[in-house]
């Protein structure tokens, strides 16, 4: 699962600094402060109790924000996140309970205003230490960005590829995508959401992972992908619209594809009409899709999707995921 909210400084560090590291540091401080209050028992000052009660709710506030993002933006909650949310809740309850229970016994005000400021500074430092250690020890990924190969023949001789140029396009890119591939959908949506897609001068090579047209597979990974790919080709200048429709309706189209070709064709007919089906059935469309697949074969690209080539250079799979912003900052900063 990719989350754009899981890390900070993604353009400076490959993958960014995971925000969970800040949580680790903060919880370490709270463990130490809880130990301090435990040893002091009834002798703990009201100031210390109030400080603990106040700051121990801060992880809960952050967790509440992340929880809302998880549910509304990502539609899922990761296991580590769920653990942190629970720990934050328990810590906040513990902080309030400690204050309420302790203030009855505490008769000391000691420490003045300075001590909470010192504690706050300690909280900040301890929170940062794991993240700083992580950032300082990270290997330099820059020299590995060019390790994943190049397009030997970037021009398709029949001009069969789908061109998606916008007014903002400034970086030539070749994408190998399958309209029924969930990773392609997530990748496309991310590029669009981050404003990168429109800055690419895209030539799209359709690479359906469906053995009804793709001889490189012995079974269909995404049944129906060949037919949907033909629909993209038939859309002409509206190819991006059909591609994005396929991504939006991907689960439905995959179910239709599994149900059989007639079901899938009916879904396409309902959305795009009879002319689209007539175009899908044309020999020219079959040949054009076949040319896309031969383009992949002539360039010996891996049989997987999505694949991204900036100019001729292939972006490694891991660099299209959590390392994307770092990679783009290094290879094509104009896209950010």
């Amino acid at each position: 699962m990719y989350s754009p909210y899981s890390a900070l400084l993604k353009e400076e560090y490959w993958g960014g600094i995971p925000i969970s590291l800040f949580a680790l540091g903060a919880f370490t401080f709270f463990a130490g402060f809880a130990c301090y209050l435990l040893i002091l028992g009834g002798r703990a000052s009201r100031g210390a109790l109030a400080f603990f009660a106040t700051v121990s709710s801060s992880p809960l506030l952050v967790s509440a924000g992340m929880f809302v993002i998880s549910v509304t933006q990502l539609g899922t909650i990761c296991k580590t996140c769920a653990g942190i949310y629970t720990a934050s809740l328990l810590l906040a309850i513990g902080g309030v309970w400690t204050y309420l229970a302790g203030r009855r016994h505490s008769d000391q005000d000691g420490g003045g205003a300075l001590l909470p400021l010192v504690w706050l500074a300690c909280l900040a430092v301890v929170t940062l230490i794991p993240a700083v250690a992580y950032a300082a020890s990270m290997p330099d990924h820059t020299k590995h960005l060019a390790d994943c190969g190049t397009l030997a023949q970037p021009i398709e001789k029949h001009d069969a590829l789908v061109k998606m140029r916008t007014q903002l396009s400034r970086q030539p890119a070749t994408l190998f995508e399958d309209p029924l591939c969930p990773t392609c959908k997530a990748f496309h949506e991310r590029l669009v959401a981050e404003g990168i897609f429109d800055k690419l001068d895209v030539q799209l090579a359709l690479f359906p992972l469906d053995n009804s047209c793709n001889w490189m597979l012995d079974r269909p990974l995404h049944p129906g992908a060949c037919t949907v790919s033909k629909a993209v080709l038939c859309a002409g200048p509206e190819a991006r619209r059909v591609m994005e429709w396929a991504y939006e309706e991907q689960a439905y189209l995959l179910r239709a594809g599994k149900a059989g070709e007639p079901t899938l064709r009916e879904v396409i007919r309902q959305r795009w009409g009879h002319d689209m089906l007539a175009c899908i059935d044309k020999n020219e469309t079959t040949v054009r899709l076949n040319n896309h697949l031969h383009f992949a074969a002539e360039n010996s690209v891996p049989v997987s999707t999505p694949q991204v080539y900036l100019g001729k250079r292939r972006i490694c799979d891991e660099d299209t995921d959590i390392g994307l912003r770092f990679t783009l900052k290094k290879l094509a900063p104009e896209l950010l």
């Binding site: 301090y36 002798r43 794991p130 250690a133 290997p139």
Partner: protein, 239 residues
């Protein structure tokens, strides 16, 4: 009310700091260890950890034996396809030279193409493709899939003079090529199609080939009619 133990005032902050530092050390060490392990994997990826991803390539099926590929390669080189130069097609004399195999062995090489290919039949002395032949040719052509090369092996007749047969066979091969030019509209056509035209001196078909998919399945077939033909097929072999 319980009596609090009389602990020294410095104990709580020192113990708490020590406790926090110990946890922090463990956390930091754990982070450093994981980053170090990741760096190790980055610098020295173990082969078993690397996912095995297939690489896209043209089709290669079981009938692509070394012998078949040898003949295929010779045909492509002799017919000027591999280098994409001007020379087009192979005349019977060439075939005899470059194939270096007997008629039966030559024909046997094409046996696995029985279902993939088709026999376009012609009228006596004619090089015109009829509607059924055109339909079969287009059907076979558009069912390319992963193949790289399209073979056309034209024949003339088992009877008649070698020269006349050679010329007729040549015209039949050209008819196929012209029709492909019309329907395929492919600027790379010349680099895909390997043309051979055989006279009656080499690799004539036996009556058994009447069982192969052909453009006149309802008509009477025999050794003479089946050799008035052009065999067409994509070849799913890499070179």
């Amino acid at each position: 009310m319980d009596e609090e133990p009389n602990l020294p005032a410095w104990l709580a902050p020192v113990a708490a700091t020590g406790f926090a530092v110990a946890i922090l050390a463990i956390v930091t060490f754990s982070v450093l260890a994981k980053v170090s392990a990741a760096e190790e994997r980055l610098l020295k990826p173990e082969p078993e950890n690397k996912p095995k991803v297939a690489v896209a390539a043209q089709a290669e099926v079981a009938y692509c034996t070394p012998q078949f590929k040898e003949v295929l390669e010779r045909v492509l080189h002799s017919c000027g396809l591999a280098e994409g130069n001007q020379r087009r097609g192979c005349k019977p004399a060439d075939v005899k030279t470059f194939a270096s195999i007997s008629d039966e062995d030559f024909n046997a090489l094409f046996t696995p193409l029985k279902e993939r290919g088709g026999v376009l039949r012609f009228d006596v002395g004619s090089h015109e493709l009829d509607a059924a032949a055109k339909q079969l040719l287009e059907q076979r052509w558009f069912d390319r899939k992963g193949a790289r090369y399209f073979f056309v092996v034209a024949r003339a007749s088992k009877t008649g003079t070698p020269l006349k047969n050679r010329q007729l066979s040549h015209r039949r091969a050209n008819s196929v090529m012209f029709h492909l030019n019309e329907v395929a509209k492919d600027p790379e056509l010349e680099k895909k199609v390997g043309l051979l035209w055989l006279g009656n001196e080499f690799a004539q078909l036996s009556e058994d080939y009447c069982q192969w998919p052909n453009s006149r399945p309802g008509e009477k077939c025999g050794e003479e009619p089946i050799n008035r033909s052009a065999f067409v097929s994509w070849v799913d072999c890499r070179l």
